[in-house]
């Protein structure tokens, strides 16, 4: 049976897992870490760096290092969240050809799914290295509150990375899966997921026969750890401005250092009550002297700075509990997911709201990837009895006369589902209607997200309100929305499968897939080369070391001299192959080097 990996593509960190022999396991990267930073950088030499190595050089290469791409994925250039990101990011964000965003690295433009694809590719490589064979299928997680455009963009990213994304599932749901798997429990759980960039709260029912049913879900796709970091940075910048009358934001390197320090301080303050932020030579004063930033940050101040963010999460929890029509005491377990939930203030607020201590049953950084792996295994293995019943996080509907949004499938409806409603024309003698498929909670169409549109023609001319059009919305188990519109009089029908737009056309995606594949091949080849080079260099060095001794022993005989010449030749050829980066030749030479090395050792041993 084919293996399916589960990938948690996080705002700040990503994680990959797989179910092995019935056991969900997180796959560590080559450095032994279980999570990998979701960062991408391009060096001056044009080399791509992903993960830890990208993070390490972030400060010196701030302009060409991307982080938190998840905050941009699937969003329109004009959206307020993108504007916010532009103001605070160290890398450049520009408008793309389809009202989407593009990120500029070393003067080259990348679409956001492309950037995420590179991170996904890295996770794929981690898995393939560990398993020892290629991996094609994956389940990728997204925040529960992501709309269809954001989901489609994530799916595109997976495709570009060369993966067959068999399902996109919600992060809190994945966490619940990880919690309930193999535990044989029957509980109502609330999952509070506060990550680097997004917040989700989901309420699920876990049934004994392996059914996981989401009752209600809500969140904020632009609220997370990064915002707390931003608050700290604001505070530092303000303090510095008061003292030195200089705006640190104007200096990209200073800004990057501030961010790093802020994140580090935030994490430290989860275990200590006070910490010092020390950034010497942060900026030059303009008078040929360098200024330093040194300031103490206490937990109290941090809590003050972030209190409104915490409150906002609690408000959303309240609303979701209402939507689920449950009382707090009907929740059996509260699960905390995401690095931010390590903050004491958050844990306090959650405990206070739900009236119980959160469960320690899952790992806040790994459970989402584990859950994704579990779902992947359950889908491809028919014997697995687990079934996930998730819901649409946003209402689905169409735009009606007066730019109002008419809902067809309400928020928190279990999928697969279908609903039908009858609509009518809004103008006299209207012979065609444009059905604008939208997603969102606002009554005004303009505040909601457009997923797609199509036109139904051939209506008979009539006074407005006389013609009847039946619209049917369907969401199937894969979360794909299809919309059908039928003119009830002529029975003429038109239907589309609404594929949300990620901002990329099919052609563009195809190109990106090809590029990514090329890049993958290159990378594999280069890795192989590195390995061979190391081997060859090691062998050559050993041989070189033995030359004097060997010469001494065999120089006398002809046979000996020939052997030594041959050996020198091999070493020289190996060096050439290394210089030329000729993998095939290098392989040959390594064979020769090996033989020579063994021979030399033997000679030396005998001679002693």
């Amino acid at each position: 049976m084919e293996k399916v990996i589960g990938i948690d593509l996080g705002t700040t960190n990503s994680c990959v897992a797989i179910v092995e022999n019935g056991q969900p396991t997180v796959i560590p990267n080559r450095g032994g870490y279980k999570t990998t930073p979701s960062m991408l950088a391009v060096t001056e030499a044009g080399k791509r760096l992903v993960g830890h190595i990208a993070k390490r050089q972030a400060i010196t290469n701030a302009e060409n290092t991307v982080y938190a791409a998840k905050r941009l994925i699937g969003r329109k250039w004009s959206s307020p969240q993108v504007k916010n990101a532009i103001a605070t990011s160290s890398y450049r964000i520009v408008e793309g050809p389809h009202h989407d965003c593009r990120i500029v690295l070393r003067d080259k433009e990348f679409s956001v799914p492309e950037v995420s694809a590179m991170i996904l590719q890295e996770m794929r490589v981690i898995a393939e290295d560990y398993l020892g064979h290629p991996v094609a299928k994956a389940v990728i997680t997204v925040p529960a509150y992501f709309n269809d455009n954001q989901r489609q963009a994530t799916k595109d990213a997976g495709e570009i990375a060369g993966l067959d994304v068999i399902r996109i599932i919600n992060e809190p749901t994945a966490a619940a899966l990880a919690y309930g798997y193999g535990r044989n429990v029957e509980k109502t759980v609330a999952v509070y997921d506060l990550g680097g960039g997004t917040f989700d709260i989901s309420i699920l029912e876990i049934a004994q026969n392996g059914v996981f049913k989401v009752i209600a879900t809500a969140g904020d796709t632009f609220l997370g750890g990064e915002d707390v970091d931003a608050r700290i940075v604001d505070w530092l910048v303000q303090g510095f401005k008061d003292e030195h009358n200089l705006d640190l934001r104007q200096d990209r390197m200073a800004l990057q250092r501030l961010k790093d320090a802020a994140e580090k301080a935030k994490c430290e303050l989860s275990s200590v009550k006070e910490t010092e932020i020390n950034l010497p030579f942060i900026i030059s004063s303009g008078r040929n002297e360098a200024l330093h930033l040194q300031r103490a940050l206490s937990r109290n101040i941090l809590e003050e700075l972030s209190s409104d963010l915490v409150e906002r999460t609690v408000d959303i929890c309240k609303q979701t509990l209402d939507d689920a029509r449950l009382e707090k005491d009907e929740i059996d377990e509260v699960l905390l997911v995401g690095g931010m939930t390590r903050m004491p203030k958050i844990q306090d607020a959650v405990s206070k709201f739900f009236g119980r201590e959160p469960s320690k049953g899952i790992h806040p950084d790994e459970c989402v990837a584990l859950g994704a792996a579990i779902q992947g295994a359950a889908l491809v293995d028919e014997s697995q009895e687990m079934i996930l019943l998730d819901v649409t996080p946003h209402a689905l509907g169409i735009m009606t006369f007066g730019s109002y949004f008419e809902e067809l499938i309400p928020q928190n409806t279990t999928v697969p589902t279908s609903r039908t409603k009858i609509f009518t024309t809004s103008r006299d003698n209207q012979t065609a209607v444009k059905i604008l498929v939208m997603q969102g909670e606002s009554e005004k169409a303009e505040d909601n997200e457009v997923l797609g549109e199509f036109i139904l023609t051939g209506l008979r001319r009539a006074t407005k309100g006389q013609v009847e059009i039946e619209v049917t919305f369907e969401i199937n188990a894969d979360g794909i929305v299809s919309v059908r519109a039928k003119d009830l009089e002529t029975n003429q029908e038109q239907s589309i499968q609404v594929t949300a737009t990620s901002g990329l056309t099919r052609d563009e995606i195809k190109n990106m897939i090809d590029n990514a594949k090329e890049h993958m091949v290159e990378r594999r080849v280069s890795e192989e080369f590195e390995g061979l080079k190391q081997e060859a260099t090691r062998l050559s060095a050993e041989i070189e070391k033995l030359f004097p001794q060997v010469e001494q022993i065999v120089a006398a005989s002809d046979f000996g001299r020939e052997a030594i010449d041959k050996a020198r030749g091999i070493v020289a050829r190996a060096r050439t192959a290394i210089d030329k980066k000729d993998v095939a030749s290098l392989k040959e030479q390594i064979e020769g080097l090996s033989r020579t090395q063994r021979m030399f050792k033997g000679v030396v041993a005998k001679g002693q």
Partner: protein
Amino acid sequence: MSQHSENIPKPLPLPKGKSVQSYPLGPVDGFVMSRIDGTLSIREIVTLTGLDNVTVQGSIDKLVSLGLVSLGAPPTAPRSVTPPPGMAAPRSPSIPARPITEVSGVLDSGIPKPPPALYDPAELDEDVDLERDHRRKILDAYYKISEQDLYEVLGVERKSDKKAIKRAYYDLATVHHPDRFFRKKLGSFKQKMEAVFTRVTEAHDTLVDKDKRAEYDAYLSAQDEARALEAQMTRRASSPGMDRTDRTPPPAPVITSPPPVVPTTPVPERTSGIQLSDQARRDALARRLLGGRGSGMAPPQPHSTAPQPGSDPDALRRHYEQKISAVREHMSKEHILAAEAAVVANDWVAASNSYRLALQVNPDDERLQRALSEVQTKANAVLAEAYRKQASYEEKSIKYAEAARSWQRVTRAMPDDATAHYRAAWCLFKDGSEPEKTLRVAATLAARAVALEPKRVDYRTTLAEIYLAAGLTLNAKRELEAAARLAPDDANIEALLKRAGKG
């Protein structure tokens, strides 16, 4: 509640700690109860006790409603009758010797007959990656869901608590959720599975929400009530019980032929239940004790008190007719008493039933005719109200076909209710399925609404739209012109007229 006289009442065990004396029974009930042993039919008990049919039925009703007695379903095949002496019973080899009492047809080998097919079994043969059993499960569910109520869809009792409903839902989810067969070849089964799953989820979501469930339960009981009332009103035979206060829905209406008033030639022991005057019964008993004709059970025959056969035929006939009218009077009196009791209890439907039966006996009794029509109106109102509730819920749930049916039932009970006729027409029109059949009906209903309330513009315009849809443009024009006279500036009417003009 009335029973087929072939029914066999069975005594039920008393609940723990209760003694039979604690029940509100009278001496007649006690007597009847003492004859109930689980083998005698009602008819036989009538014969045995010497009481009349109404009394016995009434007592048995009471006993059943108190939970002391249960009734078996009437056997579909006649019980094997011990052949009269001298006749060999022709025993066809396919009928087993013992009496057949099962309701669903039992074949020779005792295997229950399968219910009629819901779908063409060829559908099971589609080339898909599913086990045959599973295919059957899906098709069975798919073809039943539109007829079943939400409790049936989930396979739970109406009284089930939230937990049971959730349990049922989860079990069904694992069967019908398409993810169980991820990326397998499912063909047409995929859409069916998704449809079943959607309906099952709808059932769960409605029944698990306190408010929605309350609303739905009210709708179901309105449905049951209406069905029960309807059944009561259409039943012809037998009489209502004496003190019927419970409203439990009766079993499927049992329509028996009117009790045979005229016995034919002397028949062997078993007769149909015939009410007798006290005198006749006493005579029969006396005869038996003195060793009259017949053997075994006392056959209370109306004419057994008559002069012996062979004597004057005219006298026989006269006596016989006397007996008949006495019996008739008695029956009528019983029905009237029952009706009056029902009126006191405000049970209009029961009252109308009883008056109707009394009228059957004395069709020319004006007093009865008046009483019946009074009570009938009230009964119809009760029935109409039940159907009206149903129709409103169905309209709200966008189930226009069902709503149309319910509204039509209202019209049957209230033939002068314009709103009901109009709504029935509107729902039929909205539903739009099988227009060849429904448009005509819709037109008739809408026309009646218009006739009842000629000044209502909207009634006329809807009627006009129906006519237009049916292609009857002249009729449509006529209605529209009348509507236009009532509402001269209505743009809608003008638009419709234009449409009609084109036709």
